[in-house]
Amino acid sequence: MKKRALALALVLSMTFGLTACGNGNSTSQGSNGGNTTTAQADSGSGETAAPSQAGAAGEAKTPQDFKKFKIGVMESQSNDSTVLRRNYYENYIAPRYNVEFVFSEQVKSAEDEMNFIENCVDMGVDGIISYRSSPDVNQIIQVCEEYELLYSVNTTRTPMVEDAFTGGYQTMTGVWGTEPSIVSNEFKEWIKSVASEDGSEGFMVTSALAFQGNTMHAECTQGVLAALQDIYGLTYEDTIENLAATSVPLEVPNDKGLNIYIYPGTNSTSDNWVQGASTALQTGKYGVFLQAAPTYGYTGVAVDEVERGFDMNIKVAVNASISDTLVTAFNTDDKFGNSSLDMATVQSVSFLSAMGFIQVYNHLTGYEHLNRMANGEPAFFNMPIWALSSREQVNQAATWDNAEKETWIFNEDAINAALGICNPDLTNEKLVDYYKSITLDWVIEHMS
């Protein structure tokens, strides 16, 4: 009996410790327990603020003129970025714009999405910002339409989600994300700059969730394969699209016999993902390592070991967001005194998150026309990304999107410039251009 009690006590303290750690970044300001939304919920389901509330092109209003909207945030991963985003939403956006956020746990399947949406409906949520890009989008929009819940998702307009655009759904606010071709271009350029004459160093790509339909990851992987094809004049035995979508590790056969290895998945899709990646690296066959998702935290150790063991300099490029992990990685020296990361295509978490919020908020406040293209279909907003390739650049970037100091790249002014309530004569085209104008130079200028 005593032993059991002791065991229980130990496990309890461990659990508490872990959750406290995990919760460390975000303060609990945003979670007001027990707020009822019965009054609003009784009216059936989340309602879009009736267009009649705001005059379509009427006077500017303030967020306080509206009811307190409730927005659900659906996350498909659980990493630095999601923690940062939560902080941004709860501590920066929520108080300023009179909104409340509800966060999901890691959503891994269509059923998880359904559960979260149903729970949101029960809580009287008005709209969903989803960070899960998958073919299920077509189904999910139908569900949201039925519950009269706004739906906005972080993806690009690909054939996979085409139905959501053409189905005439009222609650579909549109999508936003980075044209994967931009990322893959950056990867291409970078490979061209570091690759050798004969490609003998070998190339490894972690394709992350490409096999599940994540367009960003798929395009990154495709970009790498296309770049290699260009540089070395390769012929593959299958189409680049198919190769990139492989669900099992694949040594890509090519006519020049170069070592090209595609390794799918992330540490959350399988328990021994990290081991598999390490094993592949430890063969020493790959001198260039590209990662389509921010998995460098898990592979960093393996890379370092291989560099020491084989006395070779592995060049690493990742597609990531600005975060503490990224900064640390860039500032860590490898055996040769270089940065352990050589290039990162980064998105700003605040930029990405703000765009999602803006999309839903405009719709809620009666400015849904900002989310519609000329032909009436939901819009796609492209978000620029930036390629950082030096320690100095990254350290500078680290000062941006900082939660403690509240120095967000996409701050209140930046947001207001995109809101209908602050700029009644904004149009969809102007908004698109606005986002495009946020380049690295813009950021450097605004953040100093």
Partner: protein, 336 residues
């Protein structure tokens, strides 16, 4: 026959302490039902208070039930397998396989009936296969299921790739609104309860799980009994595949991932041991699944952060498992 009717406690026993009273209560026959049910009611009541009545709304409670359906179906069926002391974690992959087959069946014939039949048949075939290998070759069920899990999910990945397959969403909503899933589940649940508790099937399974050699000596054949349990499990898997299809109208490679563990958790929370034996019953799966679902929904509605939700969930599970696993101490073997 000499008369030694000493139905009172034998002379010299001391007064019962707290732990003894707890043990006596735990041995009462209705305990396995009352205790988890009480916990569930307490959890619902707790959330109801915390959300100031929000949790008690009909849509919310129905939602709890709905979200629990899939796990509840498989768990109810799996109590048959667990009762005999076996385990199977391939249920998730088997369900995915079954669902894929069902979707193709529907898209080929347009018949919901045909889809249901295909799902059920495939479910039964897959699970019975596991049971067959075990009965024939004596390989432990946990090993078989680990292997088959990989196999089934590899096949599903192969067929689907990165895509998903789907059927008409409108049809699914119709079926859902007509209460198809709810009614089917209730029918299946009643069937399982009758089969387990009112026929010899459940008793035989429990005996096999408690002491297989003793069961053999009372004429219970291990092979036949276990095969039946896997066939029932297959029915549950097939039915839950149908439910999955109807719920989201799509099937992807992520379907059923981790279900093996979810089922075990549900069964344990429902008050049954996953090692089977005399404390097994057919309702633990439903109780446990609904408890998990209520916890998830309730914690979210209370604005608890997702990371904290995991922690709280873990603690609640631990406590419940801890309470369920106490065994009465026995006298040393010198007694014999």
């Amino acid at each position: 026959m000499e008369n030694t009717k000493e139905n009172k406690l034998p002379q010299g026993t001391r007064k019962l302490g707290v732990m003894d009273h707890i043990r006596i209560i735990r041995d009462k026959p209705m305990f396995p039902l009352i205790f988890p049910l009480t916990v569930l009611i307490l959890i619902i009541a707790g959330f109801g208070i915390a959300t100031e009545g929000g949790f008690f709304r009909k849509t919310v409670l129905m939602g709890v039930f709905n979200q629990a359906l899939i796990i509840a179906t498989v768990s109810t069926a799996m109590t048959f397998v667990f009762a005999a002391g076996n385990m199977d974690i391939s249920v998730g992959s088997a369900m995915a396989f079954s669902a894929v087959a069902g979707v193709y069946a529907y898209n080929a014939t347009g018949s919901v009936f045909f889809m249901v039949v295909v799902c059920l048949v495939i479910g039964v075939v897959l699970m019975s296969f596991n049971g067959f290998i075990h009965a024939m070759f004596g390989v432990r069920t946990i090993i078989i299921s680990i292997v088959m899990m990989q196999l089934y999910s590899a096949i599903v990945s192969l067929i689907l790739g990165p895509d998903t397959v789907s059927i008409d969403y409108g049809l699914c909503r119709q079926l859902e609104n007509a209460g198809f899933r709810n009614i089917s589940f209730i029918l299946f649940f009643v069937f399982c309860m009758i089969l387990f508790h009112s026929t010899s099937v459940g008793r035989k399974l429990k005996f096999v799980g408690g002491n297989a050699r003793c069961a053999q000596q009372t004429g219970i054949q291990y092979k036949n009994t276990v095969l039946i349990s896997f066939a029932v499990a297959g029915l549950g898997v097939g039915l839950s595949a149908v439910f999955s299809i109807i719920r989201t109208s799509t099937v992807g490679t992520t379907l059923g991932a981790g279900m093996g563990m979810d089922v075990m958790l549900a069964v344990v929370l429902g008050g049954m041991s996953i090692f089977g034996g005399s404390r097994s019953n057919a309702y633990a799966g439903l109780l446990g699944a609904v408890t998990v679902s209520a916890l998830n929904k309730g914690l979210l509605m209370c604005d608890v952060s997702p990371m904290l939700i995991q922690g709280v969930r873990g603690i609640v599970f631990l406590i419940l498992v801890f309470l369920n696993s106490e065994r009465p101490a026995t006298l040393p073997s010198a007694q014999d």
